[in-house]
C-alpha cells in the first residue's frame, strides 16, 4: 500500500515535469518559427542590398567603358581628319568629345562613399576638361596651315587621352576588385545565414517532434487512465450493490438464528423454571442478553450502512427544522432529564434531511446521556460563518470555501483529550456498558453524515468540564 502510494507520487511528479517540458518545447518551437520567418524577411532585404551594391559596381564599370569608347571615338575622328584633311571629321571629333563630361558626371553618384575612387574621378574630370580644351583648340586651329601648332596640340591632347585611359583602367580595376569582393561577401553571407537558419529550423523540428511524441504519450496515458477510472467506477458500483446485499443479509439471515437462540433460551426458562438451578437460569439469561445485544449491534450496523450519499436526493435543508425534528424525537429523554437546549438561528444547507435530523438527534442524545448526575443538562447550539482554511486537516480544494460552523456545547461529564478522535469510530465506547447503555454507533453515524455532506466534525473536551462538538458544513453546494 505504502509502495504504491510512493509510486503514484513519483509518477505524478514526473508527470508534472513532463508536461512542463512539453510546454517548453512547444513554446520554444513557436518562438523559433516566428523568429525564422522574421529573419527570412531580413535576410531577403540584406541580399537585395548586396545585389544593389554589386549592380552599382557594374554600372560604374559600364559608365567608365562608355567614357573610354567616347574618348576613342573622338580620337579616332581627330586622327582621320588629320590624315584626310576632311573638315567633316572635325565636327564628329567635337561631338564625341562633348558627350564625355556628361558621362563622367554620371559616375559621381555611383562612387559616393569610396574616397580613392572619388579622387580618381576628380582627376579624371580634370583630365577630361583638359582633353576637351585641347580638342576644341585643335578643332579651331585645324583650318590654320601651321602644322607645328596643330601637331603640338594633337600631342598634348593625346597625353590627356593616355592619362584618362590610365585612370579609367585603374578605376576599372578597383571596381572589378570591389565587385568580386562584394559578390564573394554576398555569397558568404548567404551561405552563413542559410546555415544558421537551417540549424534553427532543425532545432525547431526536433523540438516539435519531441513535443509531438510527448503529447502523443500523454494522450495515450490519459486514455489509459480514463479506461482505468471507468473500470474502477464499475467495480465501485458493483461493490456498493454487494454492500447493499450484505445489508439485506445482515438484516434477515443473521437476525434469524439470533431470534431462535433467544426464543429457545426463553422457552427453556419459562418451561423448566421449576426444575433448573439458579446457575443454569443465570447462564440462560446471559445467552439471551448476548443474543439481544448482537441483535442491537446488527441493527446499528445496518442503520450505519444505510447512511449513504445519493446525490439525486440532496435538497436545501433548513437546519432549524432538522433540529426541531431531532428535539421532538428526543422529547421523552429531554423531559426525563430536564434538559435545556438553547439554539441560535441556524442556516439552510444543501443535504439529506433525514440524515441531518439524525446528526442533531445523535449529538443531543449524546450530550443528554453523558450529563453530570448533579446537574441538569444544558446544551448550547451556536452558528457562525468561517473560512475553510481555519478547519484542521481541511482538503486543499475546501480552503477557499466558506463553511457554516455549528458548535454544540454541553455541561456534561466530557472526556479525556486523547479520546477526541476515537469517539467517532464505530462501536468505540469510553464507558462500560453497565455505566451507560448503547453500542457506540451514534457519533460514528454523525461523522458519516457530516462527511456525506463534504463537511468536518471535531470534538473537544476536558474531562469533567463538558464537551464541544464542532460541525463544519460547506455554505455552497458541493453535492451533485
Amino acid at each position: 500500500m505504502k509502495l504504491s502510494t510512493f509510486n503514484l507520487l513519483n509518477r505524478t511528479l514526473s508527470e508534472q515535469q513532463l508536461s512542463l517540458i512539453t510546454r517548453f518545447l512547444l513554446g520554444t518551437s513557436l518562438i523559433l518559427i516566428i523568429a525564422l520567418s522574421y529573419s527570412y524577411n531580413e535576410i531577403n532585404q540584406e541580399l537585395i542590398n548586396y545585389s544593389e551594391k554589386v549592380n552599382q559596381t557594374q554600372r560604374v564599370i559600364s559608365s567608365l567603358n562608355e567614357v573610354s569608347s567616347a574618348l576613342y571615338e573622338s580620337t579616332y575622328h581627330a586622327n582621320t581628319y588629320l590624315f584626310l584633311k576632311d573638315t567633316a571629321y572635325i565636327n564628329k571629333t567635337l561631338a564625341a568629345a562633348k558627350t564625355i563630361p556628361a558621362l563622367t558626371q554620371k559616375i559621381d553618384s555611383l562612387v559616393v562613399g569610396n574616397e580613392s575612387q572619388q579622387k580618381r574621378l576628380e582627376a579624371l574630370k580634370v583630365h577630361v576638361g583638359e582633353f576637351s580644351t585641347y580638342t576644341e583648340r585643335l578643332a579651331k586651329s585645324a583650318t590654320l596651315v601651321n602644322p607645328a601648332i596643330v601637331y603640338a596640340l594633337y600631342k598634348k591632347k593625346n597625353l590627356e587621352v593616355d592619362s584618362i585611359t590610365k585612370l579609367i583602367s585603374e578605376m576599372n580595376n578597383v571596381e572589378g576588385q570591389l565587385m568580386h569582393m562584394r559578390v564573394r561577401s554576398r555569397d558568404n553571407y548567404r551561405l552563413q545565414v542559410f546555415r544558421y537558419n537551417w540549424i534553427i529550423m532543425l532545432v525547431a523540428i526536433v523540438f516539435l517532434s519531441s513535443a509531438f511524441v510527448l503529447l502523443d504519450r500523454e494522450l495515450k496515458r490519459n486514455q489509459f487512465y480514463r479506461i482505468d477510472l471507468e473500470n474502477k467506477i464499475e467495480n465501485l458500483n458493483r461493490s456498493n450493490s454487494e454492500l447493499e446485499q450484505f445489508a439485506y443479509v445482515a438484516s434477515h439471515d443473521l437476525q434469524e438464528p439470533l431470534r431462535k437462540i433467544r426464543s429457545f433460551s426463553d422457552r427453556l426458562v419459562s418451561k423448566y423454571q421449576e426444575e433448573i438451578s439458579d446457575e443454569i437460569f443465570q447462564m440462560l439469561n446471559k445467552i439471551d442478553g448476548s443474543a439481544q445485544r448482537m441483535q442491537l449491534l446488527i441493527n446499528d450496523l445496518l442503520s450505519f450502512s444505510r447512511i449513504v450519499k445519493t446525490g439525486s436526493d440532496a435538497r436545501l435543508i433548513n437546519l432549524n427544522t432538522s433540529l426541531a425534528d431531532a428535539k421532538s424525537n428526543l422529547s421523552e429523554m429531554i423531559m426525563e432529564n430536564k434538559a435545556v437546549i438553547h439554539s441560535e438561528l441556524l442556516p439552510s444547507v444543501e443535504g439529506y434531511g433525514s440524515q441531518m435530523v439524525q446528526l442533531f438527534q445523535n449529538l443531543l442524545s449524546n450530550s443528554i446521556k453523558y450529563h453530570k448526575e448533579d446537574q441538569r443538562p444544558i446544551i448550547r447550539i451556536t452558528h457562525r460563518l468561517v473560512n475553510g482554511e481555519i478547519i484542521p486537516g481541511v482538503k486543499p480544494s475546501h480552503q477557499e470555501i466558506q463553511f457554516h460552523q455549528i458548535k454544540i456545547s454541553d455541561n456534561g461529564i466530557g472526556f479525556k483529550k486523547e479520546f477526541s478522535e476515537k469517539i467517532f469510530i464505530i462501536f468505540k465506547r469510553l464507558h462500560g456498558r453497565n455505566e451507560f447503555a448503547g453500542t457506540g454507533i451514534g457519533l460514528a453515524i454523525c461523522k458519516r453524515v457530516v462527511s456525506n455532506h463534504n463537511g468536518y466534525i471535531f470534538a473537544e473536551s476536558t474531562e469533567g468540564e463538558g464537551a464541544n462538538f464542532y460541525i463544519y458544513l460547506p455554505s455552497e453546494s458541493l453535492l451533485s
Binding site: H252, Q255, E256, L258, R259, K260, R262, S263, F264, S265, D266, R267, S270, K271, D288, Q292, Q295
Partner: protein, 131 residues
C-alpha cells in the same frame, strides 16, 4: 367454531415448533395443522368441504414452491374462502412486504417476535381477537 383447525404454512421447522409451544404454554387447545410450503397448504385446502374450512391461517411470506403472496392471492380470489382470517407471520419488516400483503387481502401482519415471551403474548392476542 373452535373445533376447526388453524392452518400454518412456514418452511422454518423451529418457528412451527415455537408457535405450537406458545399455544400449549398459553393453555390454548386449538388444533394446528402445519405445512412446509404454500403448495402443501393449498393441496390441503382445495378438496376440503365448505363446512370444514379453517378457523384461521398463519402464513409465512417467503417459502419454497408457492410463497405466501401466491397463496394469499389464490385464497382471496376464491369466494368460498373469502371469510377465512389470514395473518401474515413473517420476519420481514420491509414496508413493501407489509403493503403488498394487505393489498392481497391479508387481515393482519405480524412480524415474528424476537423473544419467546413476546411470541406467547402475540399468540394469546391472536387467540383472543381472531378465534
Amino acid at each position: 367454531m373452535s373445533d376447526k383447525p388453524i392452518l400454518m404454512a412456514d418452511d422454518d421447522a423451529d418457528d412451527r415448533f415455537l408457535v405450537q409451544a406458545a399455544f400449549e404454554d398459553n393453555n390454548l387447545s386449538h388444533s394446528i395443522v402445519f405445512f412446509e410450503d404454500g403448495e402443501q397448504l393449498l393441496n390441503y385446502l382445495i378438496p376440503e368441504e365448505d363446512n370444514s374450512a379453517p378457523n384461521l391461517i398463519l402464513l409465512d411470506l417467503n417459502m419454497p414452491k408457492r410463497d405466501g403472496r401466491e397463496v394469499l392471492k389464490i385464497i382471496r380470489t376464491n369466494d368460498k374462502w373469502n371469510d377465512i382470517p389470514i395473518i401474515i407471520f413473517s420476519t420481514s419488516n420491509a414496508p413493501d412486504d407489509i403493503v403488498t400483503a394487505y393489498q392481497l387481502g391479508a387481515n393482519c401482519y405480524i412480524i415474528k417476535p424476537s423473544s419467546y415471551e413476546e411470541l406467547k403474548d402475540v399468540m394469546l392476542s391472536v387467540h383472543k381477537f381472531w378465534l
